[in-house]
Subunit: 271 residues, 4 copies
Amino acid sequence: MSENLNQVYSTSTPAPKTHIGVRVGAELVGTYFVCVILFIVGTLGQVLYGANTLLIAVATAAAYGIVSAILGKLSGAHYNPAVTVAALFTAKITWLDALLYVIAQLIGAIAAAATVVGILPSSTSIPDKTWLTYVVNGFDKGSASNSILAQTEISFNITMAIVVELIASIVVIAAAIRTLRVDGEPKPNHSLVMGIAYGIGAAVTFPITGAGMNPARSTGIALIAQNKGLTQYPLQQLWIFWVCPLLAAAIVSLVVILLNMLKIAQTSKAI
Amino acid sequence: MSENLNQVYSTSTPAPKTHIGVRVGAELVGTYFVCVILFIVGTLGQVLYGANTLLIAVATAAAYGIVSAILGKLSGAHYNPAVTVAALFTAKITWLDALLYVIAQLIGAIAAAATVVGILPSSTSIPDKTWLTYVVNGFDKGSASNSILAQTEISFNITMAIVVELIASIVVIAAAIRTLRVDGEPKPNHSLVMGIAYGIGAAVTFPITGAGMNPARSTGIALIAQNKGLTQYPLQQLWIFWVCPLLAAAIVSLVVILLNMLKIAQTSKAI
Amino acid sequence: MSENLNQVYSTSTPAPKTHIGVRVGAELVGTYFVCVILFIVGTLGQVLYGANTLLIAVATAAAYGIVSAILGKLSGAHYNPAVTVAALFTAKITWLDALLYVIAQLIGAIAAAATVVGILPSSTSIPDKTWLTYVVNGFDKGSASNSILAQTEISFNITMAIVVELIASIVVIAAAIRTLRVDGEPKPNHSLVMGIAYGIGAAVTFPITGAGMNPARSTGIALIAQNKGLTQYPLQQLWIFWVCPLLAAAIVSLVVILLNMLKIAQTSKAI
Amino acid sequence: MSENLNQVYSTSTPAPKTHIGVRVGAELVGTYFVCVILFIVGTLGQVLYGANTLLIAVATAAAYGIVSAILGKLSGAHYNPAVTVAALFTAKITWLDALLYVIAQLIGAIAAAATVVGILPSSTSIPDKTWLTYVVNGFDKGSASNSILAQTEISFNITMAIVVELIASIVVIAAAIRTLRVDGEPKPNHSLVMGIAYGIGAAVTFPITGAGMNPARSTGIALIAQNKGLTQYPLQQLWIFWVCPLLAAAIVSLVVILLNMLKIAQTSKAI
């Protein structure tokens, strides 16, 4: 049995073909590009031509998909601390590499937010606050739909935010675990499946939270938007956008480990 | 000839590689995730930002596609009683498994409806009825377009509902039979083809019926929305959304069996 | 040289694996489903929720793509007389089969138009004419944008119609020839490429002509809509929607034959 | 070391299987079709039915993707001087061929612009200027959003234009280098990846610059639209749309060469 338990994890031994410096660099650059695309479309694209869930969903799908397709072979295309944690739990990456990946992802996302907020023009009629409404992750007064809901008596509360972020994150993490090989390399269908997972996740979460599903993305924009006069300080609600994706990573990893144990148990019986 | 007839069904012998408990569990979880996505996008996504056929079509495609891509290998990715019945008719699944699958699908869909209706905020200005307009399947006063049509003298009657649901269901069932192997396992193109089949089916049916094509989906939301003050009790019209998909399953299965018989007849002649 | 010329056509010898009755039946059923989807989305989808080029483009892509994916192996997935003519010119199908294909396509398209027009509800406020505005192919007073343009001093004339229909048809026919094998069977990428070709063609042509690119589709709806009170009799402008796709078939076939001749000439020289 | 440096470039030796005349012709025809589609959708599609970032993004993706899928094997599917320059820097094409490719691309793009502007109807209510607003590449008064921004106190300045064009072009060029083989032939995933790269690039750049990313496309329409009464002469701002894509080509090529050197260094050490 203890041997069987070992086997559950023996799917490990990640083969670090690429130099760790290149891999961490690829995570930083990849996360930067994913986030810079999401932040530009979520500000310029949404404010001028009207909020559009479908545009956000399609752009989110394309952003993660194309960057994974281009850089994926270098680092395994995580670009998301929750994906890295799930890869760690399922033994596709080592502790040290995971730590470096997450740091690189955060730097990439913060740099992306700084780039976009840095070039946004602001004036009295369109202040920073307006541009940032749909791109910051939040709920209640921080919800992407807050201005629309202001005319009603309802708001999108923390429970709704947790439910949709958890559902969307489970889909994203499950898609990642399903399309990364045992050694952490992406399978051929990786970028397409990841793109669609993030896209449908964005369609589900956008009206409520502005579409998080990625703690690096949420942290990057929250830090840079903190003092831009938003109705709700984004850093105050940021913890939700770490807890839900990480919880999703834990749930998915547990299911995967249990399924692997079951498979081994069945095989042993067969022998 | 009797041997030939046998051969028509000899495409059977499904190889139940995965434990039946895992398979039924995968159907339950898969149907839950498909439906929870459809119900969130069909309520929050439609009401706040305006009814949008394209959003529903793309989200429906992505929902079925991504869940099939993630969980498909475990159960064959049915998530729809009509698909299970067609798989039964074409001998890709046994009677007992089919029964368990359908029960799992219904539980998954009802749980999804309960989740979404449970978190929807309601008030005097946006009552439950408003949120549920586009997500409940129906016709006439239960049609997704009923509020728009109220200003005209027309309505979308039962004939229209039957025609569009039958057409869309035939496409979905045919896509499923075409992309499931003889042993019930999905082919590599399964999730992409199924996604597109459901997506175009949603574009065709949404303005009239709110896009059914799946008795589990229709039943789940109808049960939970029954006492939410809708103009039309959804359970009263639910039978349509069982009859059309099941009729489609019968038609497609019949065509497949006839084509197989013809192929065998030709082969015999050749010999 | 005469032998070389022969070789240009020696890419012929189509292998009619499937019974001609099945193939012609598949063309009829396939064209019916493609057209019934296009006609429903082009009437119900467009009129109630506002004309939407993107919806038409995506639905056109999905309609041709999914039917090709499901039925393609049976008949080669033409569903379009211009594709059949191009297949004839490039020797992928025989004269007799081509004739039967075109007849089957026309019957399928007319049946589809009859189905959709048959179920459309009409009233004083939404007469048949309103439903049919965006789905009939035409130009000038028959243009899909005619009602919008009525408030300006311009119209979309026959030259514009010819240019866009020719461009879109060349893309569609070239995609078909490129993804059908020498024996007329579809290559693995056939349905995806065809879907995208028809989709972008619809985006290009819809605002002007209502997106033709397929004489069977144009004829089916023109016949059924002829006496429905449209500002412009559709049958009067129908010839354009035969000439452009057939001209495109001739142009593409000529280029393919010339490229094949050049390849053979090069190979001969090499020897 | 000098040998290693050689190896960096030894990925060269492009195998010119297809006759240079055919290849250059394919670039001309391919660029013509890509641009004619972009220009029609960017004028007729945008003006009549409202500016729509998603339509532009999807149409851009489909235009590049479908033409690459149809003609790609003939020339490597560049259709963009910046892609050709990057292919030159990474030794996938020779100097002479690159020069001929760029000339062919420019001729194709200019012909496409002439075709579309030639058929556009103009009147007092919809002058040429209106049709061309969203299709010409520019910034400040030449920005696609200029008319919307006129009611605010802000404008989209040259810095914003450079940032978004550079980001989008890097994605496009990296996608091209990643999906073209050492000998310049497209890999099987080429057209899909290129389509998505251009699509997301269009979503990012459209509201600011009208979506350039391709000097041939920008030059073609700028030349033909120069004297059409636009608020901003397009040729005055054209240099940006050459500098950014070419800079992107240089950056991506440098990274690729450095990564190749690193790989060789690692391999040498291993031996």
